[in-house]
Subunit: 376 residues, 2 copies
Amino acid sequence: MTPKVARFLADTQPATPCLVLDVDRVAENFRRLRDALPLARIYYAVKANPAAPVLERLVGLGSHFDAASFQEVSMCLDAGAEPEAISYGNTIKRERDIAAAYARGVRMFAFDSEMELEKLARSAPGSRVYCRILVGNDGAEWPLSRKFGCEVEMAKDLMVKAGELGLDPFGLSFHVGSQQTRTAAYEAAIAKVAMLFTDLVDAGVKVRMVNLGGGYPVRYKSEVPEIVEIGAAIMGAMVEHFGNSLPEIVIEPGRFLVADAGVVQAEVVLVSRKAANDPVRWVYLDIGRFGGLAETEGEAIKYAFRTPHDGTADGPVTIAGPTCDSTDTLYEKSNYRLPTALTAGDRVELLATGAYVTSYASQKFNGFSPLEEHYI
Amino acid sequence: MTPKVARFLADTQPATPCLVLDVDRVAENFRRLRDALPLARIYYAVKANPAAPVLERLVGLGSHFDAASFQEVSMCLDAGAEPEAISYGNTIKRERDIAAAYARGVRMFAFDSEMELEKLARSAPGSRVYCRILVGNDGAEWPLSRKFGCEVEMAKDLMVKAGELGLDPFGLSFHVGSQQTRTAAYEAAIAKVAMLFTDLVDAGVKVRMVNLGGGYPVRYKSEVPEIVEIGAAIMGAMVEHFGNSLPEIVIEPGRFLVADAGVVQAEVVLVSRKAANDPVRWVYLDIGRFGGLAETEGEAIKYAFRTPHDGTADGPVTIAGPTCDSTDTLYEKSNYRLPTALTAGDRVELLATGAYVTSYASQKFNGFSPLEEHYI
């Protein structure tokens, strides 16, 4: 929690649940990442936190933007981004949304299939397109399965076809999974993409960009590698596989830029036991999986907690949200411990919750409004 | 899909994704349930679909209401419900929300812990309270884990304490899990609650109500038992365990009343393969897990699909949502098949989606607005 956030919480006592996010920390994170990967162009993954104050600060820093939808394209433009600074990075786009983005000046689009390529050729003619390939996600705390990307052989055919359709076969992309904690995942993916890149060059395709995606990890409950270490591993792999003719490099950080800038403050609604002699207490908060903490699904992202009783005796807890849905349980198997003094009405903070929280919040599940947002 | 919904879709061609819900079907379902369990008082679980037209129709039919939050209490009152017809059924309530509901006239509250009982004694003095006990959820497609309820021994102590605190120890409740397909789950739970009920009567506690919860199943992709069969099993178990001195019976249907009244219409955004020879196509819709289809988590609720190409050749598919989140995949392991002719721009319908869809929808994940709702 940054001093500015701590001060805001102490002075304002905002209604809970809420997110308080320090936009200066976003700027710091942007500079740290730029320093760790100076050759890479940063496209902020808007979906991580699309709030206008975040986008505006990043526009001021010269960031580019990775938009998941036409609505996100619009948000970036509204925040002052130039259309040339926006990549429409979702491989799944309605054709009328492609056309709308193109009409607003966007000229860079992702794809991973023939049907998408045909939509792009019709509705965004001449645009730069990049093909996403499937790579391993081992080591990611929020892995990405096979939903996005295609196999290398198909990517090769599609990149050739992109040129035939009048599009600019600009580059290749991959994603090693979000909250990726192993540098080896990047190294393996870069080796894979480099082979395809060389094949394409040999086939006469004017490919010239590699998009390394996002996934750069953030400290939640456990330590993660430093970004300089990840940057060094990435650049080592790029030089190993591309030599001194490096392609343009794009990265799409989301979590890394905004997560540790934000803190969710919540209220303890109830502390109980299921039986008199049960060693585990249940701690129910006024925010849960459907109030924004969607990344606790499967206990994947393990947030760190602060309470007014830290430093006093603690004990094992299950932590759950306030709704009448039992899947709205945050942590049951992750060995969380909280102070035994914790009681209803206490305010607690969930650290590093600036990413993938506000936009996930359900509009009204169980009648609860989405959490309030404060950008300072 | 009811004829009225089919006609609305054909005539209106609404923007997708959207829910179209026939409130006449809700009324029919209410009557069917009342006929199957004539001795039970129906408390509609508002969280299943809190839309005003649904609540208003149910008020007109004499329904009672199970509210999960003070906001849901307000929605019921706004729809014309009497405060006496409302149960605040969440065992996890902020004390100021208890006080607010009490101020509006609500006098029936759930609890499962000592701390909650103390809040109720302070902020809803003299109210009818009922204790939720833990029971098995085997056979439920959306089981409820241990989040709600307490063990029987603790429930006994708490019911005695409720009286000591000046509350009215009105009843006992349980929940066999949502979309419960086995009548044996009700029978086992009733046996358990009846033993506790008798113990409490013997201890001088004036308990007089049993709340059987919800869970009454709906036909999605597979057949489920008929409600008359479930009703008969429940009443058989009640008579077996309570003889001819039956307690007041409360039921809390949500899904059963609204699910098959509603249809979600969606648009196919993309159909693709991960490799040229991959037998499985990926079908991406403009609605997914974060657009309202939250109950597809773990492929728990399996919706049935209608497409414009039904009856033509089909093949295996993975079905996913439109967001840049790979957990936003609906069905990968459930052996869904869809027509090979299916293509981008086609409209498809997801049947029996009137429950647990609209309120789950994220407010803006990936920039997508929540689905539109049409009540006809």
